[in-house]
Amino acid sequence: MESVLSRYKNLIVLVVILFAQVLGLAVQVKRTSDTESSRLIRIWAVSAVTPFERAFNRVQNGTWNLWHNYFYLRGVRAENRALKQEIQQLRLEQVRESEDADQARRLQSLLGFKEQYIEKTLPAQVIGSSGSELSRSVFIDKGDKDGVRPDMAVITADGIVGKVLKTFRSTSTVLLIDDQSSGVGGILEKSRLQGIVRGTAGGEVVLERVMSDEEVKPGEQVLTSGGDRIFPKGLPVGMVTRVSPGQELFLNIRLRPAANLAKLEEVLVVTQVVDKQPEARAGSGVRAVDILAQRLPSVPDKPAEDPNNPNKVSETPEGSAKPGVAAATAPRAGAAKPSQGAPMNAQGLAETNITQGVETPRPEEAGNPGSPETAKPAANAKPALNPKTPAGAKTPGASGNTAPGSAAAGSAATGSATKPAGKPSTTATRPKATPPVSTEPPQDAPQ
């Protein structure tokens, strides 16, 4: 017996060690969470590897920053000029976009709609990876002591990256969205079809569970749907690159992730997400018109003629100011004086009738002569500048110059939907809390 044991000693040890590992593996697979011993091994391994990675990363970043911030400054001036121009363009676009956003917030607020907002994020540096082709996860330099917890979303400015899988004292493991065990609720931006974003064994990202009879085109963006309760709704996930028929009545939709998962450096950990009702802003902010007016060369003011004496110039500034500037400086007549126009609700919003998603001013309000401020257009004033649409067209800027319920509201609103009704008002400013242009003219609105 002794000779058999000594003869097969090596083989017996091999079998014992393999059996122990297989047994350990089976226990871990059955349990959803780590056992105490396996967690301990992970802590040791991560503690042994990540300090080197952290140190190396610091040295690398320090050298890189020194070179780029102090030595290699070629082309910075030209880039600065280009960026300034881009900022100007973006500001204009932002103002236009904020109009739509405000409108959406008002509607959501009216409907008592609650939405998830990213309240707090924590910047983190990616310091290492699992080193395995099959386990697509990375290590970040923030952990338990920084407030990172499992299942927190990890994002970049470009899009989502993954979720926190395990946390250690000063590091965390982030499971990337291209790992085959990850799953994110996704929604196609245009068609609003929902599915599940998953990784594949080959490291690709696919959108699953979209029926094959639906039409999905390459190039369409995929956003988070918020259904997974990890990623807030509306964050970019990726772009559809290929659509082909898949198995079991579902489409095979391949995506290119919005965030570059192969070159991750800095990420944001979403540490706090709150459910809150959107609030409509209270009519402050800059308009696209104002920005354009500031940028355009000023036109000499044409003085208003005195009706009693055609040769005498009126000294009153009203009506003679440049509309853009007036709009920027004058109080927002239509919005600020609800008593003269539409009644206001609790949030200070003009109350409107909402029928099947289209806001319609109340007939009695629409036909109301309204405030003298809005009803009194300056005869010689220039129409409000709008970079996109002419005055009287269907834009918040055009209709928003008057409060709903005022005479101008009736005319402008009707005009925007049907035809321009007389001269557009230029003295009143665009109210932030004004509902959008109605699609149907009120019965008693002046034509």
Binding site: K9, N10, V13, L14, I17, L18, Q21, V22, G24, L25, A26, Q28, V29, S38, I41, R42, W44, A45, V46, A48, V49, F52, E53, F56, V126, I127, G128, S129, S130, G131, S132, E133, L134, S135, S137, V138, F139, L165, K166, T173, L175, D179, Q180, S181, T200, A201, G202, A262, L264
Partner: protein
């Protein structure tokens, strides 16, 4: 020059200092983790496997080889999000096999090193895939061409790496 030993020839067995025994595998796992993050193609290499084969062949002791393989494999497993043991089992078998083969082969020979590395890379992948699919239920696709290409790349890197690590060998 013969690459197999006859019964009359003396088989040289090497040992390594403690810092090398611990430091080299840790460095290999760290490099694997760090370089894979910055260079996507580096995931085709398996530095911890090359280190396992080197130590196993140099020590020429199956028990020492399988313990080295199991330790490095579990260490590598701990950095992934899979259950511990997938790499552990694969590298235990490779460590045992390489050390057993090391008794019969001249492991100083570059050609033998190349072939042994290529062979054990494929063995490692087969065991890894079997365990990952059979026990952890991972979806994996086996491609012979891809595995052989990765095996060749690892074997070439292995030959150079082994000559570098030869400097740490100590005669018993």
């Amino acid at each position: 020059m013969p690459i197999t030993y006859t019964s009359g020839e003396q088989v040289e067995v090497y040992r390594f200092s403690l810092p090398v025994t611990i430091g080299v595998p840790v460095l290999a796992v760290w490099l694997q983790s760090f370089l894979s993050l910055h260079f996507q193609f580096f995931t085709m290499f398996d530095l911890p496997l090359l280190v396992t084969i080197f130590f196993a062949m140099a020590r020429r002791n199956p028990i020492s080889g399988l313990v080295t393989g199991a330790s490095i494999g579990l260490f590598q497993d701990a950095l992934t999000h899979f259950p511990l043991g997938v790499y552990g089992i694969a590298k235990t078998i490779v460590g045992y096999g390489a050390s057993s083969l090391g008794v019969k082969l001249d492991v100083e020979n570059a050609g033998a090193r190349f072939l042994v590395t290529l062979f054990f890379y494929v063995v490692h992948e087969i065991v890894y895939f079997t365990v990952a699919r059979g026990m952890v239920n991972l979806t994996l696709h086996w491609s012979w061409s891809r595995e052989l290409l990765s095996g060749l790349a690892n074997a070439i890197v292995g030959v150079f790496l082994y000559f570098l690590l030869d400097r740490f060998k100590q005669r018993t």
